[in-house]
């Protein structure tokens, strides 16, 4: 099977996923005993206004009719109207998603190389000082609440040292191409914005990366330990190769598969779930938007965020699967 055929087939599978996810979120929002029309109209709105909203958004229709309106909208780009933002959901997502995407990219950019490196060192120096240190570091990452780490970083680097800012994304670059501030500022040669945006992303991306970094470290360590005692590592050493080549060329590539799985899922997870980090650092991303939508019963927004996350998960898994096949020739796509 050719790569593009495989990708096309996997993307086709998105359809049932979209339908499944919307069905579930739709049903949940329908059975929750709250009156969205009342919430959107406001506490003091007259009953006639509430009724008008009901009419306008088909809230009086049977649930399957409502679902029909929604799902046809999803496929035609109309993801509903976000009441908390007073504009279409699709527009909100287009605004907030790049912010989250940028933050996640940076967090993963920190977590993956650092995690793999620490995991390798840990495995190679098993039960020695570097291993103990890296395990303590990883264990704190897994067990430390993310908001606490965020607050500590703000306290130290913003309040006491004043090195980094602690809220927002910084100055918007002169031109918007991708919605990723740092990339855009480079593209529009806006160095002032570039430095400012870079400074702004450091603390939140470190905060966001720590938990994932810890998981990747632990995963890499354990799979490296597994691989390092296999026969082909002995073969590689018997060939006269240096430790560096044995570890990074012969062992690591084999040990990366579980790490890759974890990274893919973490990446997708961070894209949709950076709620705490985004809230602490006032980062205008999807997590904050989701939080706001939930607290204001903004159902179209909740469903929009959920749907986007589902799509991201599917695509992240697809990328991970393609990378499996690249890393390990025993894995064939589509079999």
């Amino acid at each position: 099977m050719k790569l593009w055929q495989y990708i096309a087939r996997r993307l086709l599978l998105l359809l049932p996923v979209i339908i499944g996810v919307t069905l579930i979120t739709f049903t949940i929002s329908f059975v929750i005993p709250a009156d969205p029309a009342r919430a959107w109209a406001g506490q003091k709105a007259p009953p006639s206004t509430v009724e008008k909203i009901r009419e306008e958004y088909h809230l009086n229709d049977p649930v399957y009719v409502q679902y029909y309106y929604y799902i046809t909208g999803v496929f035609t780009g109309n993801w509903g109207y976000s009441h908390s933002e007073k504009r279409p959901v699709a527009q909100c997502l287009a605004d907030y998603f790049p912010a989250t995407f940028e933050l996640t990219l940076w967090a993963m950019g920190i977590a993956i190389p650092t995690g793999i490196y620490l995991g390798v060192v840990s495995a190679v120096k098993r039960n020695k000082i570097p291993d103990h240190l890296s395990r303590i570091f990883a264990l704190s990452g897994v067990s430390m609440p993310i908001f606490w780490l965020g607050l500590l970083l703000i306290l130290l680097f913003y309040t006491y040292l004043g090195w980094f800012p602690a809220s927002g994304r910084g100055i918007a670059p002169a031109h918007t191409y991708t919605g990723l501030y740092i990339l855009d500022s480079i593209l529009s040669l806006d160095w002032h914005a570039f430095v400012d945006d870079l400074w702004h992303i450091i603390l939140p991306s470190i905060t966001l990366s720590y938990a994932t970094l810890a998981v990747i470290t632990r995963m890499t360590r354990s799979s490296m330990l597994e691989v390092l005692r296999l026969d082909y590592i002995k073969t590689a050493k018997a060939k006269g190769l240096s430790d560096k080549v044995v570890i990074y060329r012969h062992a690591l590539r084999n040990a990366l598969i579980p790490t890759l799985t974890v990274s893919g899922l973490a990446f997708a997870g961070l894209l949709g779930g950076a709620v705490l980090t985004e809230t602490i650092f006032a980062w205008p991303g999807m997590g904050r938007y989701a939080y706001q939508a939930i607290s204001t019963l903004d159902y179209p927004a909740i469903m929009g965020v959920t749907l986007l996350m589902a799509i991201i998960f599917v695509i992240a898994n697809l990328i991970v699967d393609i990378m499996y096949a690249y890393l390990d020739p025993r894995i064939k796509l589509g079999e």
């Binding site: 026969d231 590689a236 060939k239 006269g240 080549v245 590539r253 084999n254 890393l327 025993r330």
Partner: protein, 347 residues
């Protein structure tokens, strides 16, 4: 005589420091390997054959350690060489192949790349084959195919670009041999190279090893627990028991006139079609725990001839006739008895 000797191991002790205690896996092993010969190292599982081999090539992992002894290869004591120098000997001077061809090749690289790697490393000092110039790779690719042909790999042009999982066990072992001989080492250590293979494939692989010895003039240390393999291909044999060598001689002597009670027990345990017995013979008892090995001769708890001295003193490996070494307090007696018995049967 001495210039014929390629490798000489003297009083080698390799211990493993585990939580349960110190495992004396190899405890005073001495032997030598001549140029161009196939030297068999025989013994039961866990007797220290593989540890001896790994000690020679310097790949004893934690918690293991070579405690004392000399490993003299081509006149140099390998134990005194810095790791840097030792790496140059591994794969170039001494190569090693392992028991499990299924797991001894790296699953994520092609056979060709894995063979190319060792050639580039020792011929040009290039460690990363990705950084090697293209022309060099193309040139050496021919050498890889030639090596694969030499080990009688079917369809070498195709095999070179195959991944290990696409080949059968026998083909993988051929690839392994091709890889480890591509640099034309002087000594190949083959650790149970045929144990995991079918009998028919086993014979093919052994023939390839014999062939390689003849064509490349290498010496081979063949580690095995299979006496029929030893009889087939080895020139000289050392029998190991519980971390010691108990007897060493040429293959004819070992099979025809074994002296040590353990060797004799082994020989009697070989099933024979000629004389069908009611019950197969075996050596009573089991291999001792190497953390608390028996005092004196390590075989004494299982030996039917054991005397007081066997419990107190460790017998030394002594030459009882030219080229025939035995570690037993009663070696001389057994040897003479054997000689007499042979004399009688000849009359």
């Amino acid at each position: 005589m001495d210039d014929e000797i390629l490798l000489k191991v003297e009083d080698l002790h390799t211990y493993f420091y585990t939580y349960e205690g110190v495992v004396k896996a190899v405890d005073g092993v001495s032997f030598f390997v001549k140029k161009g010969e196939i030297f068999g190292l025989v013994g039961e599982t866990g007797c220290g054959k593989s540890v001896t081999a790994l000690s020679i090539i310097g790949l004893i992992d934690d918690p293991g350690k070579i405690v004392s002894g000399k490993i003299i290869f081509q006149g140099k004591n390998l134990r005194e060489l810095p790791e840097e120098e030792m790496r140059k000997i591994r794969g170039k001077g001494i190569s090693m192949i392992f028991q499990e061809p299924m797991t001894a090749l790296n699953p994520v690289y092609t056979i060709g790349d894995q063979i190319l790697e060792i050639i580039l490393l020792h011929k040009y000092g290039i460690e990363n084959i990705k950084k090697a110039p293209k022309e060099l790779k193309n040139k050496e690719r021919k050498r890889v195919i030639e090596m694969l042909r030499l080990v009688r790999m079917p369809d070498p042009e195709r095999a070179i670009d195959s991944y290990p999982h696409e080949l059968s066990g026998g083909m993988r072992q051929r690839a392994m041999i091709a890889m480890m001989l591509a640099t034309e080492p002087s000594l190949l250590i083959a650790d149970e190279p045929t144990t995991a293979l079918d009998v028919t494939v086993q014979a093919q692989i052994l023939n390839i090893l014999l062939d390689m010895r003849d064509k490349l003039g290498i010496s081979i240390i063949l580690i095995t627990h299979d006496l029929s393999v030893v009889a087939d291909v080895c020139d000289r044999v050392a029998v190991m028991y519980a971390g010691n060598i108990v007897e060493m001689a040429d293959v004819y002597t070992i099979f025809k006139h074994p002296v040590h009670p353990y060797t004799r027990g082994l020989m009697q345990a070989i099933p024979s079609i000629a004389e069908k017995k009611e019950e197969l013979k075996y050596i009573k008892g089991s291999v001792p725990n190497l953390i608390y090995p028996p005092s004196g001769c390590r075989f004494h708890p299982r030996c039917e001839y054991a005397q007081d001295i066997c419990k107190k003193e460790r017998p030394k490996l002594v030459e009882i006739e030219p080229g025939h070494y035995v570690a037993c307090h009663f070696a001389k007696e057994f040897f003479e008895k054997e000689k007499r018995a042979e004399g009688e049967s000849n009359e």
